[in-house]
Symmetry: C2
Subunit: 187 residues, 2 copies
């Protein structure tokens, strides 16, 4: 059987060492029996689209359609939440019915991150709100319930390891996703 | 012909007046010839899922599958980016091949918001980065290129009106999306 292809989604592409981390992830994919598809590898010259951003969009969409599964890095990016590009891609692959795996290098629940960064008021009778009066989801999830929910609907959870390196450099969570993918694909 | 159904996605559900803004949006949908499907209206008792968040997830997914199109409020939420739940849903509906419409009540480009909130360094030869060294997309888009790209691939742009009310209270952008939807569905 051909090795299953895994789309590697996350804010990793914005890191100073974006290409190096992509290589590390693809090498780990190989070790675990997969082929990793990393967004920075695509052939933009051939991609449809009038402008560079449109070409990147259509190339990423092509990779997601080609992939058998996706691993999503939901580590908070420029704030308390996951990168919206990764969130978009998680929705895209979930809608295609493909298995989605995810990890975050911030083990705190969304609720605790929002409370720490934006304050917490209200409840226990009503809802918890931040200092701006915006309600805070309090389900113990890693992020917005649509993200965690996509995994729960497939019988999995977002992996939230205790990591020593802050940010996206630690790949323990990524490897845990690869082990879940091995179980899913019986590898 | 039955009125097309539009899924109403956005961080509106987290606002103190979440139900009131949902009613306003649904009333506008009716005026423009549509039926608005607002996430807070679903029947959670009947939704599959072991816990409340799982039930909300599956009910939202059912609404998106039922809808003929989606209007996404991409106004920045708790930071420089769109709410990741809305981003997930935009990806979900784009993958289903449904028309996606979007607006934001912050007319600034993502690049300018990130530069203002997180600093800007580097370029013109290389890439622009924020103070943490994370590269900043510089395409003039409203948000991450996957979000704008989903609309561009369908021949549209994220609507970025100059609004007088900060936050999500102003519905000029929402109405502009409804006009685009009328053109799309020939209403």
């Amino acid at each position: 059987m051909a090795k299953p292809k895994i789309y590697l989604s996350g804010p990793d592409v914005f890191l100073p060492d974006a290409r190096a981390i992509g290589l590390r992830k693809k090498r780990l994919c190989e070790e675990f029996g997969f082929v990793g598809l990393y967004p920075l590898d695509h052939d933009l010259a051939a991609a449809p689209g009038a402008t560079l951003d449109e070409k990147i969009f259509s190339a990423n969409v092509a990779l997601m359609r080609q992939a058998d599964a996706g691993i999503f890095n939901l580590t908070p990016f420029r704030g308390v939440n996951a990168d919206p590009g990764s969130a978009f891609e998680a929705g895209f692959m979930a809608a295609l019915g493909k298995p989605v795996f995810a990890y975050t290098n911030n083990s705190a629940a969304l609720f605790d991150r929002v409370a720490a960064a934006h304050g917490v008021h209200g409840a226990p009778e009503g809802e918890y709100c931040d200092a701006q009066g915006l309600s805070i989801e309090n389900f113990g999830n890693a992020d917005n319930l649509m993200l965690d929910g996509a995994l729960k609907a497939q019988g999995r959870r977002v992996i939230r390891p205790d990591v020593t390196l802050p940010g996206c450099g630690d790949l323990d969570g990524f490897m845990a996703c690869l082990r879940q993918a091995q179980a899913h694909f019986s590898i």
